[in-house]
Symmetry: C2
């Protein structure tokens, strides 16, 4: 096990009918900016619940934060924050709204001239404007971590940011929201959380026995509840386990003391930037190729995963490891998610080389848990995913 | 899954050679009281490491906090805190030293006349004096939670306390310390952590699939590393997993959204108060009787535990559940821990009635996850443990 530090101060408020607790968690004198996305919260009743809870508070609103939160839109919200002297941000939405709010939390207190530097120059946020979240879409885990991914369409860039100042003060997780999420987004959430765990787990054995078992626990739970939720999104038991699994998949716990891969995400971000493919689906496109390409360095963990998550008891280590890869692809298919790039675009020729060029351009020349994957390797992995 | 709130702000600093980081985590102007137990830290080098890290700080010391931290001794430490105008407490030790420090953290800022009221009147600590820990004995999980158990020999009382103000600011967990821990205390730590998990898990199914799997992960890991550590306490890999498992067993995570039992602890505290038996061993004495007495209400979880932790695939649900109980007792025996009260004292006759009387006296008349166990039930469970 590697040395590690772990601190996660976010308060989770989990369960039915918890949105009203916003009122007791935000300081009474706060000037709040309520942030949300395309307006689905106005249809499913969450907006009304939030507004009821905020009765008596000073509240401004900023809606329209798009999926893959867009820098230009967020800069408009930043203007509102400054003009209205906002002191507290409340994100009501999924990972995109929450990530966008994290950028705003950082940018609101940023002392430089150009907030884009936070992303481009990878400036860690030690202190941000206090913010909280009401999660409406289990997937990214952003509700209990201090990282964000921001997109700039103008330059086709999708960059990460973070820092210890970017944990939500509190996050409200009401699994009832799952019943109103479209099937496509539920599938995305399942695939996203599953891959988050894989990125932190599918590396090489390092003797972190408990972290391995926690990671496997999340994978087993997602595997168990996926068919239940897809069949009936109003199954509260399944939704609660789905939601808590998504949060635990990326709140820092399972990555402590172990190596991380994250190459699938780095390549996947490029596919979203190039083609606009849903984030989760880019992960599903790349997983099989990535694990096949890096089979030798990952086969021990692939075999352990096949045994413990997919109950594969027969065969050699290599055989089990291969079944592990197949089971992963089959899991994505069971969610209705296609796993070949050519199933998303006809314009895929040359994508490997283009992804490589873009990774090279931003200096991402050493991916994976061994930092041994070059842009050239990435090109081959993407090519295998057509 | 039940509704829940979860917040754990303690910063964990885990690994080899981390004690030096005390220097960067404590405010430079703090007036520190260094608290420890019987002096083993002076033999194993930890005291020297801590003193080196604290070079340049203002430091007072208070040693001699006994196992089952004693109120009278702690009141002496409280006098030092007041006289020396201490502002930061640093516990270097195991659960007893840390629990004692939590009492002091609370008592230092307590506004009432009699600090015993914190325990006797169950006053939650909303804010305590800041404190941190250097863990020398993995077992209780006190290094990452906000609870404590304090003993008053004078009245043979052992009472619990806690509150959101009692999380350590940071805790340093260096698994290297395990190599210097006596075998008896290692065994106690393994049994204590194992039982902490059981108290939160061995109740009834409530659809908290992820919490169940996390609990099982800790049990599986403790089961796996126990023989390695007992054979070679300097096995760092085993020690690291042991240490992290003990912390995760009682940092709040696995108890969220699920019912809790804790009857074994409540009865066990009385056995320690009456006979001075090590805390962990009282749990081992009571577990089999408790699970046998409450077999019908716990058999589903007992069977699940037998299947997932002990790989029992044959038999009916009841048969698996019974094997689960047997495996638990066998696990304690594998640690060299005896599981009958008569193996610890010849003076056991009437203990059941005496435990019942004491529980009655302090109003603990409804134990267990259903709050259905009366003192009379406790008497029978204790009687079954002779």
């Amino acid at each position: 096990m590697n040395n590690f530090e772990f601190k996660n101060p976010t308060k989770i408020i989990f369960g039915k009918d918890q949105i009203i607790k916003i009122a007791t968690e935000i300081p009474k004198d706060a000037k709040i900016l309520l942030l949300y996305g395309g307006g689905s919260i106005k249809k499913n009743g969450i907006y009304d619940q939030v507004k009821t809870a905020l009765n008596g508070f000073s509240v401004e609103e900023f809606g329209g934060i798009p999926a893959n939160p867009e820098y230009e839109v967020l800069m408009q919200a930043l203007t509102v924050i400054k003009e209205k002297k906002i002191t507290f941000l409340l994100a009501v939405g999924g990972g995109s709204v929450i990530d966008g709010t994290k950028f705003l939390s950082s940018a609101a207190l940023f002392e430089g001239d150009n907030p884009w530097d936070i992303l481009d120059k990878k400036i860690a946020t030690l202190q941000g404007m206090p913010f909280a979240t009401v999660l409406t879409l289990p997937a990214t885990g952003s509700e209990m971590n201090s990282g964000a991914v921001i997109t700039r369409t103008e330059t086709k860039q999708k960059l990460t940011m973070g820092g210890p100042g970017l944990f939500p003060v509190f996050s409200i997780l009401d699994p009832s929201v799952v019943s109103s999420i479209p099937q496509r987004q539920i599938a995305n959430g399942l695939a996203d959380a599953f891959t988050h765990v894989l990125e932190q787990y599918m590396t090489y054995p390092i003797g972190a026995l408990l972290q391995d078992r926690f990671a496997e626990s999340i994978l087993q739970t997602l595997k168990e509840v996926a068919p239940m939720i897809l069949k009936d999104p109003s199954d509260y038991k399944a939704a609660a386990n789905f939601m808590w699994s998504c949060t635990m998949a990326l709140n820092g716990l399972i990555q402590k003391g172990v190596p991380g891969d994250w190459a699938i995400h780095m390549m996947g971000h490029e596919l979203t930037a190039l083609f606009g493919i849903d984030h989760a689906r880019t992960l599903a496109i790349l997983a099989e190729s990535h694990y096949t390409y890096n089979f030798d360095s990952k086969k021990e963990k692939l075999a352990q995963y096949a045994e413990r998550v997919w109950d594969i008891t027969e065969g050699s280590l290599e055989e089990k490891a291969k079944v592990g890869i197949q089971k992963t692809t089959a899991f994505f298919h069971s969610l209705g998610i296609k796993t070949k790039l050519s199933e998303y675009t006809t314009d895929y020729e040359g994508t490997g080389a283009e992804v490589a060029r873009r990774l090279e351009e931003r200096g991402m020349t050493a991916l994976g848990e061994h930092q041994s994957l070059t842009p050239s390797d990435a090109a081959k992995i993407v090519d295998m995913s057509y």
